[in-house]
Structure formats: structure tokens, C-alpha cells
Symmetry: C2
Subunit: 315 residues, 2 copies
């Protein structure tokens, strides 16, 4: 056998994306097709099998070179058995993903949740290349996280390691309820949802802001307004950034990563978001735990999921 | 060769304690002798060599059965090379501990800092026995911590993993400066020093408390007063406990340990401290990250250091 290749599957509610990576985490090619969620788990798993075969057939590699297949799925799952307990966006309950795919593909299959897999993707083939210990944040509708220790996703006792969106960071007096049942979670202020909520609150309060003219405010609107100097928008962005930096300070004295990587839609805001994050992080972290530690944007974008899924079979 | 044994050295400013452990982390015997810090590093290292030989000679084991020797030292050090960069309480700067001891003893020697070593001791032979992933807090003059992942101390990028005493947990408005250069660190409120400071503040403010009658208040005085129902003391204890619980909530969504172990002098206060810690932890942690997670007292007391030092050679 010559070079090994790895196949990653990013299983979304609308489309399934598959990707082929080499041993260095370089993404060679991708293929995307519909999920067909409405036809149920068996149909979806058959689509995965079809797309995986298709991408390998269309590549310069042989099926024999496939060293493993991985899949990232949103939901709760038992990683060792590869059993999806609940995936709300797929409408799945108790689906034996690993077992079924291994039978149909004749290859080792590993699964993990989407946030962890995106973190591994960035660690292996993106902004964390060559760094063994790092922590990823994914800022989207919610706030996801992933802890990479010695190049591997760290799960913790029951898979809750890296659930950074649910770190309690907002003081009680300003805390609002989170979907997780607690209040004051990072996700309530630093996700796109949290940013939009703060903007709507400002609008309702009658704050002087250009955002008041927008009917349906998005997180991007808030960043654009902040870049134009809108003070209310700047305050909202700084608040979202402050709590990310504060949570990173707590992470730094817990696992002391060499690098923090921030991905997800919100991270596209750029320096207007990254600068106050870095400032807060330095302010709240002991010198030895921030010296040499970088906070950088993710580089793989939407490909992080397939690259990380492919990487599940590295170890 | 029959059973392997491990020797641990707890190097303190006043005395050196050595201990002999079996492969299961059971402490078989200990020996303690003066450090002689005033005579300089060479003298101290010779004492270690002497005490290590003595404890093995006096045991039922042969020197050949010693599989490794470990030492826990307070200070900053480079773990892989076993080089102590700075140990304020020993007055050491740039001492090649590992190299010197290996030459004199003819055995593998590993060193680590005292808080990490105490955590490993509890993990291997104490309150964490059989639990691969756990987090230890040591509440003394300061607040130390240790992260145990897969049975090993986790160091992080530059040894700052588990520096939980320097997690920024106190809101800015109430934060006071910490020795580390930041402010609002856990250590400023939840160490013996922090508890005594809060008691002295209450006394100076003229709060109605039995502590006002004590000239030189200790942390034990505060706990005793709290147990007797002194409301000011109860408030101080609850505040110290609250911030430990809050920091544990942050740790839980970062490394999701199965168990938290609390040791050090302050932990002897018992349930009056542990109950509010557990309450805050549950209040600020998502259900999946606290379900099945225990917060328990350390069991090895002052022996945690020698047991953990012995355990440095396990992996």
C-alpha cells in the first residue's frame, strides 16, 4: 500500500459534505450532496455510503488506500460505540451510525460531534497545524468549543469537555437564561444570537444607533455598524468580545493551550472582534499563561468539518 | 526482579520527606529529615540521596526493585530536563536537580511542582484512585491546582495548566490585587490568606462578629466561628466557597473531570465549606457536566506529596 488517505463526512440537516485528506491533513477534494433527512436514517446512511464511494472513485486514489472514515454530527452521541442518541436537526434518536456504516463500507468508521470535529480539523490541517495543544471556539448561532490535547480531541468524563459556550461568565445581575437550563452562559452574549439580542434590546430601549433603522438585525449588521463607528454597536461587540476573552483566561489556567482558534460565522468580523478579545485575555490571565499564546482566526472555514472528520482516524 | 517500588521525595524548605510506594500507589513507609536549606543546593541534594538510600535500606525491598524516584518542589522548573529555574522557598536558582540526582542515585529521577505532585498523589493513591480524569484544588496559603488526564499530570503549553488559583473569578468591582500581577484571582478570596483578609476587613469595618475578639485571626478561627453560627464568618466562608464552585463550573465545561478533589489545610473545614461549593457548582454548570461528578475531600493529607512524587515514574 502506498499513501494512506482519510475520508471525512460532515453530516448536516440539508447537505452531506464529504472530503478526502492526505496524511498531513491537506484537503484534496470534496463532494457535496443532499441529505434527504425527510426519508429517515437508513436513507441518509445510504447517501453517505454512496458519496464516500463516489469521492474515492473520482479521485486518483484506490479504495484500498482509505485508512478510515470519520463523520461529524450535531447532537448527543456515545463516541466509542458511535451511537447517536439524539440529533435534533436530523430528527434522529438512537441510530447506530458507526456499526451501520462499517458494515456497508467495510472500513473503520468513527464519529464525533460537529464542534469537536471542526476543532480537530483546524488543529490538524488549519490554523493549528503543528500545535499539539490548542482550544477552538466556534462562534455561530451558539458558541461551540473543542479542546485538543496532544493532537486529539479531549472528551472528558462524559463528552462535555470543550462545551465552552456554557461557561458561566456573565455576573448574576446581568445574566439571562440559556437554552442549557443555566443562566449567564458565554453563548447568551457572544453567539450571533446573543449579539442580535443585545442589538434588539438597544433598539427597543430607544438607544441612538443606526441599527434602529434595520428591521431584522443580523450579527453582521452589528459588526458593520461598529466598523462605521456606531457607539452602541461598538459597545455590543466589545461586550461579546469581553466575555470570550474572559472565558479564555479561565481556559488558560486550566489547560494552558498554546493557541486559541476562533471560527464560525461571527469570527469573520475580524480585528474589531479579535482586538478586544486579545485585550481582555491579557488583562485577566497571569503573564506566564498568556506569554507566547496566540488568538487567531480559523482558516478552513466550512471545510473544518470534513477535515476534522477525516482526522478522527489518525489516532 | 519481583515487585517494583517507587520512591517519592517531598522537598520542603524545612524538611525533606521521602516515601516508598508499591505499584498500586500504596504508601508503605516514610522517612523525614531536615533539609538544611541554609547549606545550599549541593548539601540538600546530598541529603535527598542519603534519605532515599536510608528508606530503601530500612524497607523489606532491595535497591534493584526501585523503578524510579520522583521529587515535588515548590517553584518554577523545566519538567523534561528536571532543571529548577527558581524556588523562592529553597532560595534556589538554576539547579540541575534531575541530572545531579540521577548521577548520584543511578536511577531515573523525575521532578514536578508541588501542587501538581500532590494532585497526582491523590489521583493515584488517594481520593481519586481508579478515576482517570480529575481535577485537584489545594487550598492553603495560596490556591494550587492540578489537572489529571488519563492518570497523568497535564502540564499544558508551558506548565501553567492547573494554575486554578489564578483564574479570574471575582468581578472587577470587588477584585483585589493578586501576587501574580492580575486582580480578582480565586486565590485572593478562597485561600487561607484570602479568608483571613476578609475577616480582618470585617473586623476593621466594625462588623458584629465574634472574630473581633481575636487578635490574630486564622482561617480556622473563621471556620470555627462560622460553625458556631457567627453570621459574618458564615458570609466569609460562603464567599470563599462560592468562588471555588464558580471556578469548578468553568473547569467542568473545559476538561469535564469525573471528580474534583479538594485538599490543603483549608479543606479540613469540612461540610461547612464543601456544601456551598457543591451548591454553587450545580447552579453554574450545565446538567450534563455535573451529573455524576463528585466534589470530595483529599484523603492523603500531607502524604499526597510523597505519593505523587513516587507516581511521577509510572508513565
Amino acid at each position: 500500500m502506498t499513501q494512506r488517505i482519510y475520508v471525512g463526512v460532515d453530516l448536516g440537516g440539508t447537505s452531506i459534505k464529504v472530503g478526502l485528506c492526505d496524511e498531513q491533513g491537506k484537503l484534496i477534494q470534496t463532494y457535496e450532496g443532499p441529505t434527504g433527512t425527510e426519508h429517515g436514517p437508513d436513507f441518509v446512511l445510504d447517501r453517505i455510503v454512496e458519496y464516500v464511494h463516489r469521492i474515492v472513485d473520482e479521485s486518483p486514489y484506490e479504495w484500498e488506500q482509505v485508512a478510515g472514515i470519520g463523520a461529524g454530527i450535531a447532537g448527543f452521541m456515545d463516541i466509542p460505540t458511535g451511537f447517536v442518541e439524539l440529533s435534533p436537526n436530523l430528527g434522529w434518536r438512537n441510530v447506530a451510525v458507526k456499526k451501520t456504516l462499517e458494515e456497508k463500507l467495510g472500513k473503520t468508521v468513527k464519529i464525533d460531534n460537529d464542534a469537536n470535529v471542526a476543532a480537530l480539523g483546524e488543529a490538524w490541517g488549519g490554523a493549528g497545524r503543528g500545535i499539539p495543544n490548542l482550544v477552538c471556539y466556534t462562534l455561530g448561532t451558539g458558541v461551540g468549543g473543542g479542546i485538543i490535547i496532544n493532537g486529539k480531541i479531549y472528551q472528558g468524563f462524559n463528552g462535555m469537555a470543550g462545551e465552552l459556550g456554557h461557561m458561566s461568565v456573565v455576573p448574576d445581575i446581568e445574566a439571562i437564561a440559556c437554552n442549557c437550563g443555566q443562566s449567564g452562559c458565554l453563548e447568551t452574549v457572544s453567539s450571533a444570537t446573543g449579539i442580535v439580542r443585545m442589538a434588539n434590546d438597544a433598539k427597543e430601549r430607544g438607544d441612538r444607533t443606526s441599527l434602529a433603522l434595520i428591521e431584522k438585525i443580523t450579527a453582521k449588521d452589528v459588526f458593520d455598524a461598529a466598523k462605521s463607528g456606531d457607539e452602541v454597536a461598538v459597545r455590543i461587540v466589545n461586550r461579546a468580545a469581553y466575555y470570550i476573552g474572559k472565558s479564555m483566561a479561565a481556559v488558560a489556567v486550566t489547560v494552558n493551550p498554546q493557541r486559541f482558534i476562533i471560527g464560525g460565522g461571527v469570527s469573520k468580523a475580524g480585528e474589531i472582534l479579535f482586538n478586544p478579545i486579545r485585550e481582555t485575555f491579557r488583562k485577566l490571565t497571569p503573564e506566564r499563561a498568556y506569554t507566547g499564546v496566540e488568538i487567531v482566526p480559523a482558516t478552513l472555514g466550512n471545510d473544518a468539518g470534513v477535515v476534522g472528520a477525516a482526522g478522527l482516524n489518525l489516532h
